[in-house]
Structures are given as C-alpha cells and as structure tokens.
C-alpha cells in the first residue's frame, strides 16, 4: 500500500543523479591516473574533455527542450559565442608571440591591416572579463531573441525554424573578415591560459577535470530548477501552455528564464571547449551542428538530463570512431540514427530503460508509482 508522502518534493539527487555524479568523479580521477600509467594516450584526455563539453551542452538543451518543450535548432550559436569569448581571451594571451609579433593586435588583424583593436575586443585581455562574457553574451542574445519570440507567442516548429535562422545568420556574419573575429579561419594558435601552457599535458588534464566539474555544476543547476515548483510550471507549459496562462502564470517569463539559463550553460560549455580543441571557427554556428545537439538529447532521452549527457557522449564517440574508420559511412549512420530514434525510440535510451524497469516492477506485483516518487 502506498503511504502518502508528507511533502510532494523530489530530492535534488536521486539514485540516478548520484550515479551520474559518481561516474563524473570517476572520470575526473580515473582518466588522469590512467593517462599517467600510460594506459590512456594523451590525445584521449582532450577527447574526453571535448565530450564532456558536449555533455554539458546537451544537458542545457534538454532543460529547454525536454522540460519546456522549446526545440531550439540554434543552440550551437550560444555554444559558439561562449567559445569565441574564451577564444578572444586566448588570442589576447598570445601577445607578441604571434607570427607578426604585434603585442596589441592578433595576427589576423595585422594581416587585414587593422591599426587598432576594435572596441568589442576591449577587456578580453582579462580572464575574468572573458569568462563573464562567455556567459553574458549568449545569455543576452537568448534574452533579446526570446523576449521577442516568446512575447509574440511564436511556438513549436515556427520557433525552431527561427532559431535555426538565427544561428545561420550568425554563421554568415562570423564568416566575414570585417566582423573582426578572424573570419573563415576563426581563432586559433593559442599559447596559454592563465599562465598554463595549452600544449602541456598537465594543462589538458586540468581542463578535462574542470569540464567534469562544469558538467556536474550544470546538472545540479538544471536538476534544482526541474524539481522546484518553477520546474513544474515549466513542464506544465510544455504540456498545456494555455492552461498555464489561464492559471495566471506569465508563460513568457518562464520560457525566457529557461532559454537564458540554457544559453548561458551552453556558453559555459563553449568556453571550456575552445581551449581543449585549440580552435573556434564559424563552422560551430552551422545549423547542422545545432541539430546534432538535438539528436544527442533525443537519443539519450529527453527530459532526463542524465540521458542527454549519455547521448552526447555516445554520438560524439561514435562520430570520432566512424569518421576515422569509414568517413563515408558517418552521415549514413547519423541520418539513420535520426530516423530510427524518432520513430522507434521516442523516449530515448533512458526512456526505454525506464519503461523496462516499470515493467519489472509490474511483473513483481509492485506499484510503479512508488518508484516514480523517487525519480
């Protein structure tokens, strides 16, 4: 018999959440150890760091799509903006060690015959400023964009298409040399960050560990939002927006909050990504990249947070593996995954897992509601 809980509040960390955090901790400790013993090659460390950035990005999108029902096809833009903010700092850190040895101007500006640093590069020589901007700029874009879109009640596929157009427009803009972000080539040839040499294995391990912390932090923030009453409102908006309005909730405000929070987390992921891969270029803005994020979430199981992270790592690892072995096959596989998951696995890997567990409870004659309470 079901005993009514005194308070209908979910715990911040359930079994799944704890497992996730423990796995992250294991990565943070185990990967450097394995690398030190030589069991794991150096490049694998950066690769894992990169996957972790993707995981954070996927968690950010899952908060927006899985819980609030807003399918952003432009989340790559927020990720890239965060990456560019960090990239700009790393460019300034190069100082006079560039090819043209100009202490004030990055190489590409010297090459374009620019005489002085454009105003929007001011302040990026300071790490803290760049770090703030990596969150602030994506957040601001999301705020302005969302304010217009949500206020005018643009929803569903219309909104998805407009977010796609947003990242497309940004890609076109960043490809231009005149924008002052390195054009086609983007920002690269970084030397160090906060005095740590980016080429040294110790720095790479440090960045990877930092990424696990960021994923954990992002997960906890999203989880806290999801289990709060605001989280219930957000899910309510996904299920029935008009009922939510007639209950007196200003839907726009909630959507804007989730959109901005999600964009800032994506920016954080981008800021960690740039130093680990050593380059950020306008290709990150391409609509295809943004849609790939969506498939990470879809395959992992939307509305689960943990699933999104799993999906990101699975697909990204598969991509690394396959593009290395059979470059021709990768798009076939990715395309096939899109079709398969949407038709046969609408709830993703974790969703399928949950159904299986529910089934098991049933066959043992137990009430799955009890489990749901803990989830």
């Amino acid at each position: 018999m079901l005993t009514p809980a005194p308070l209908n509040r979910k715990r911040l960390l359930n079994t799944r959440g704890w497992t996730f955090l423990i796995v992250l901790a294991a990565i943070a400790v185990g990967v450097p150890y394995l690398n030190a013993t030589g069991a794991l090659p150096d490049y694998a460390v950066s690769l894992i760091g990169k996957y972790l950035c993707f995981a954070l990005l996927a968690i950010a999108l899952d908060l927006l799509w899985g819980y609030c029902g807003i399918l952003s096809l432009g989340h790559g833009a927020f990720f890239a903006l965060g990456g560019y903010a960090m990239g700009m700092h790393l460019m300034r850190e190069i100082g006079d060690r560039g090819v043209y040895a100009n202490p004030d101007l990055p190489d590409f500006m010297v090459f374009l015959n620019w005489q002085e640093l454009p105003w929007f590069w001011w302040g990026f020589d300071l790490f803290w400023f760049a770090a703030v901007m990596a969150l602030f700029v994506p957040g601001l874009l999301a705020f302005v964009f969302g304010w217009f879109a949500f206020r005018s009640r643009v929803t569903g596929v219309y909104l998805s298409i407009i977010t796609q157009a947003m990242t497309y427009a940004l890609m076109l803009a960043f490809f231009r040399n005149e924008m002052g972000f390195g054009g086609n080539n983007g920002l690269t040839d970084f030397k160090d960050v906060l005095g740590f040499d980016l080429q040294s294995q110790d720095t790479r391990i440090g960045l990877m560990v930092l990424s696990t912390l960021a994923v954990a932090l992002g997960f906890l923030i999203c989880r806290a939002v999801v289990i709060s009453k605001a989280g219930k409102v957000i899910v309510g908006i996904r299920d029935s927006e008009s009922r939510m309005r007639f209950l007196g909730y200003r839907v726009e405000g909630y959507k804007l909050f989730v959109f901005v929070l999600s964009a800032m987390l994506a920016g954080l992921a981008g800021a960690l990504y740039t130093p680990q891969v050593g380059i950020i270029n306008p290709g990150e803005f391409s609509p295809a990249n943004s849609i790939e994020i969506v498939i990470w979430v879809a395959i992992g199981g939307r509305g689960t947070l943990v699933g999104a992270a799993i999906g990101a790592v699975l697909i990204a690892a598969a991509k690394t593996l396959l593009t290395g072995l059979y470059p021709e096959a990768w798009l076939f596989v990715l395309g096939g995954i899109f079709v398969f998951v949407t038709i046969f696995m609408p709830r993703g890997v974790l969703g399928a897992w949950d159904s299986m567990i529910d089934e098991m409870w049933h066959t043992r004659g137990m009430d799955p509601r009890e489990r749901r309470l803990a989830a």
């Binding site: 009453k229 605001a230 219930k232 409102v233 029935s240 309005r245 007196g248 839907v251």
Partner: protein, 241 residues
C-alpha cells in the same frame, strides 16, 4: 455593483462581426447560463473576458479593472477561472501537482523557483471534494475522461476565483455525471460567480438560473429559462423553427 460588466463590446474577424454591441452584467455570486446557436459569439465572449482576445470597441470591466488591457494570466490573477470544453490538465504531472500548480500562490518565476510553501492540507481538501484521493500520485494522463473533468474543476477551485467561466461542462458526460456537475455548480454559486456556456437545454434546466441568449454577437433575450423559451425571437433563431 456588478462583478462583470460588458458594455457595447464589438469584435470582428475579417469583416465578420463575431461580437456586435454585446452588453450584459454578472453579479457577485450569481449563476448564469449563456446559450446560443453556433457562431453566436459565446467562445469569443469568453476570450474577451479573459483577455485572450482584444475587443475592437466597448468596455469590459471586472471587479473594477479594465479587462481590455490585460492578458490571460492577468485575468486569472484578478480572479477569473476558465474551464475549457475539452478537459485540459497537465498530463505528465501527478494529480497532486496539477492542484499544487493551481493553488493561489506567488506566480512569478523566482517566486516559484524558491517556493517552499506546504500545500498538503489544501490539496487534501480539494482531493476530497473532487473525489480523487486515491489517485493523488497518478499521472493526470492516466485518468478517465470524467476524472479529468473533475480534476480541472478542482484546479479551478484551487484558484479560488471570483468568476468561473465554464464551457459546455456536460459535453461527453453520462446523465449521472451531468446531474452531479449541475449540483456542484449550484453549490459553488454564491461563493463564486459562475457563467456556464451550454448547448444542452436539459442541463441548463437543471442549473435553474437566469439565462442569457446570444445571437449574432449580441444579447437576444435574458431572464428565467421558461420566459426565455417562450420568447418569439428566441424560438425563431435558436429552437430551430
């Protein structure tokens, strides 16, 4: 003073006048049935009262507020609850969460984000009222159609509105459920003003209240059901002669 006053309200869509000089008033605690043939402007009238649709002209005042300048959320906060014809509940939330979301509380983003309010007592009361105590932790999606209707009514009551707009509550209900719903609405009247939009004359008779007949966006007749039914004009346009 009336709770809700519509005065000379007009609204047209692409030249078609859905609402045309509509005027009527609802007193606090009153139960009122609004009837009318299809396209009489019933739904548009409710959209205007709840701020979903802006009127082209005329005034709508509710409890001292101008309702032509508010939106759905604003109208709800001022004390108007609206029940749709098709039950709309949050399917992936539990019954309890559906009610918690409806209870009077801080509706702002940050208010809900850090909300620590304990609603258990009120939720228990409501569950008893709508007879869903044993389904508290079930997802709303798993409820039957009738149970969803009740859940929605429970959610409206949780809002504790001054005015309830109810759209065809008897649609798709069994005779027994219909009767129970009529009893409930009569009981609720007094604490809340209630406007019931309905097709089913039998149900309106059970409500036993003042009736407003809409036709082509304005009031055709108003009064007791028997008086209205005897009205020549009403017979002509509504009763299909």
């Amino acid at each position: 003073m009336s709770l809700l006053t519509l005065d000379g309200v007009t609204r047209s869509f692409d030249g078609f006048k859905a609402i045309n000089g509509l005027s009527f008033a609802i007193e606090p605690g009153e139960l009122r049935a609004v009837i009318g043939p299809n396209g009489a402007g019933k739904t548009t009238m409710m959209d205007i009262v709840t701020g979903k649709t802006r009127p082209d002209g005329g005034s709508v005042r509710f409890d001292g507020h101008d309702m032509t300048k508010t939106d759905e959320a604003g109208s709800a906060r001022l004390g108007i609850g609206r029940k749709f014809q098709k039950p709309t509940v949050f399917e992936t939330h539990t019954v309890e969460d559906n009610l918690v979301l409806s209870l009077k509380d801080d509706r702002s983003v940050f208010g809900t984000l850090f909300s620590k309010t304990d609603h258990a007592a009120r939720v228990a009361d409501l569950l008893a009222l709508i007879r869903l105590e044993d389904r508290r932790l079930d997802f709303a999606a798993d409820l039957s159609h009738g149970q969803k209707q009740w859940l929605e009514i429970g959610m409206l009551l949780a809002q504790d509105p001054k005015l309830l707009l109810v759209d065809e509550p008897a649609a798709g209900m069994t005779d027994e459920e219909t009767e129970r719903t009529a009893t409930l609405l009569r009981d609720l009247a007094g604490d809340h003003a209630i406007v019931v939009v309905e097709h089913d004359m039998e149900f309106v008779r059970q409500l036993d209240c003042k009736v407003t007949v809409l036709h082509q966006g304005s009031v055709l007749a108003e009064g007791a059901l028997d008086a209205v039914s005897a009205n020549e004009k009403v017979i002509e346009v509504y009763l299909g002669r």
